[in-house]
Amino acid sequence: MDRSTAAVTRSETWRSFRIATWLGWQIASNWTDPLWFAIYSIVRPVSRAAILVVMYGVITQGNFSDPLFPYIYLGNAFYSYVFTVMNGVSWAVIDDREHYRTLKYMYVAPIRIPAYLLGRGVAGFLTASLSVVITILAGVLFLHVSFDPLQADWLLFFVSLAIGVVMLAMMGLVLAALSLLVARHSGFLAEGVSGVLFLFSGAIYPLDVLPVWLQPIGYAIPITYWLELMRRSLIGSVAEAFPTLAAFSNLELLGILVGLSVVFGVASIYVFRACDKRARERGLIDRTTNY
């Protein structure tokens, strides 16, 4: 690739991402008026967290001082990124193809489709971030979550968050690629995959709880290390209370997360290219199923 071609590619990639981000945000925020959107943004995460707290309270008979509680609470709060970001990227295929009927026009335009889809996922990241902040705030103010902002490792937090979000977006790209081929019901892909990952990523219980033969699945998923890092960065003592990943230092965890994210990222690009080629061969880019 010569310099001018590379410059055009970079320009197209950035343009695709930037405009798709704008479009994704318009779609995410414009479906109702701003007041209802604000109410929805607060009520939804708080309700989800409250359900979890009530269940925990009933099972442990109100033992909120156990380190398991912040472990579950934070794991659950950050897990909302998993579905929202993956779905934000992959749902764009279904939405554009089936609902807005614009996917073919995107494909005809001089844009980079993966960059476009990742841009559409940014709105998911922003709404999930709002949801996480509200959930943690509600946890600290009303639900017995002990969190001291002065003790938090903010550098580790933001670095881990950035790597994790990119990793989730690339996983979303795989689902988007599959959505190109699976005409019907592919809207459930992100929901199904995030549900399965919820079981194996130690979101609301340590991996040790799983049968020994299932634990390797959890160790192979980057989300497991990401959630651990998010918890450690905010409340370091939580991680030390459970033996699963206690042997790893923060830096080692970060290294594993980066390594697995790169592997998943590269694989996702190849999967996307293969599915994209297959979709063109089978004439699926603009095929609507009217479900």
Binding site: S11, E12, R15, S16, I19, W22, L23, Q26, I27, N30, W31, Y100, R101, T102, K104, Y105, M106, Y107, V108, A109, P110, I111, K277, R280, E281, R282, G283, I285, D286
Partner: protein, 344 residues
């Protein structure tokens, strides 16, 4: 000499169609395009004329890089549509008629601005072009309306603006007036014509139009390819295509009910090239292409035997419909009614 805007050789596309759940393993093959060879000059307004299911949309999908061909190759603006798709896309745009695509939550202007940005048009220039084209198609006053609140026809106009707005080298319009009312169709045709006239001074632009409206093809296109069941049957200027039938005698006959008489019976008469019949309340209209006028006597004789009265008889100039009938043996409406659809 500028390169050809569009070139195809032995282009073909076969769809593999899965059976129902019970017949999952049985795959039918549907030939949507077969052995299409086209050479479209830069600056040409080229029409693809054929009934629904003829393969027009399949051809456009291949040329716009949306669909891979099964056989042969195609180049747009000198670039292969499969191997160099990324080089083709900045030079083209496409509009499909008869659909209401667009982001309903965005206003007309926002929708159009967004697409202009994907093509790298600077915002100021984009807004200038958008406003100019919206005025041209008569929806400037609706520019701040969310596209969800537009009628299907107005949404289609918005999409037509989307196609022209990026000022592509090659523009593909797939049935652009499908579903539009008479007035809106006229406005769209006028816009296409204006673009055509403008291109006279700028030979970069090429337009490929698919339609199943004969008048549209006749009125607008420099050259027309008649396509049926995936094959190009003829390709020439509308006048040259009609010229082939000039030596024939073409009659339109309005009659009383046909009393069991069929177009086939008439077509079997000596020196009758083709005959089509459309029955309607209280009678029928027949279009006859005769090798020579004397054959009319045979036809009238058959009418008399079957007690069919001739209400009106007129000789007329050939149209593209006659050319189609001459090539296919049936009218386009008959093909659409009876033919197996292969449009994808």
């Amino acid at each position: 000499m500028p390169p050809l805007a569009i070139e195809t050789e032995a282009l073909g596309r076969i769809y593999k169609i899965r059976g129902s759940k019970k017949e999952k393993k049985i795959r039918k093959e549907l030939v949507a395009l077969a052995d299409v060879n086209l050479q479209i000059e830069t600056g040409e307004l080229f029409g693809l004329l054929g009934p629904n299911g003829a393969g027009k949309t399949t051809l456009i999908k291949i040329l716009t890089t949306l669909l891979a061909p099964t056989t042969g190759w195609a180049r747009v603006a000198g670039h292969d549509v499969v191997d160099a798709a990324a080089k083709v896309r900045p030079l083209i745009n496409m509009v499909s008629g008869g659909e209401s695509s667009g982001y309903g939550l965005l206003t007309v202007r926002e929708n159009l601005w967004m697409f202009s940005q994907f093509y790298g048009v600077p915002s100021k220039e984009a807004y200038r072009r958008i406003d100019e084209l919206l005025k041209r198609v008569g929806i400037f006053d609706r520019r701040h309306t969310k596209s969800a609140d537009l009628s299907t026809g107005l949404r289609q106009k918005m999409n037509i603006v989307r196609g022209f707005m990026t000022d592509p080298d090659v523009l593909f319009l797939d049935e652009p007036t499908l579903g539009l009312d008479v007035g809106a169709s006229r406005e769209v045709r006028a816009l296409i014509r204006e673009w055509v006239d403008d291109r006279r001074s700028d030979v970069r632009r090429t337009l490929l139009l698919t339609t199943h409206y004969m008048v549209e093809a006749d009125e607008l296109c420099d050259r027309v390819a008649i396509i049926n069941q995936g094959r190009v049957l003829a390709c020439d200027t509308p006048s040259a295509l009609k010229q082939h039938l000039q030596k024939d005698a073409i009659f339109e006959v309005e009659t009383s009910p046909l009393n069991g008489l069929t177009a086939q019976t008439i077509e079997d008469l000596p020196e009758v090239r083709t005959a089509t019949a459309t029955e309607h309340d209280g009678g029928a209209t027949l279009n006859l292409i005769l090798v020579e006028e004397n054959a009319l006597a045979h036809v009238i004789n058959v009418f008399t035997q079957k007690n069919v009265r001739i209400l009106k008889l007129s000789k007329r100039e050939p149209t593209l419909e006659d050319v189609f009938v001459d090539l296919v043996g049936r009218s386009m409406a008959d093909v659409e009614k009876g033919g197996e659809s292969s449009e994808q």
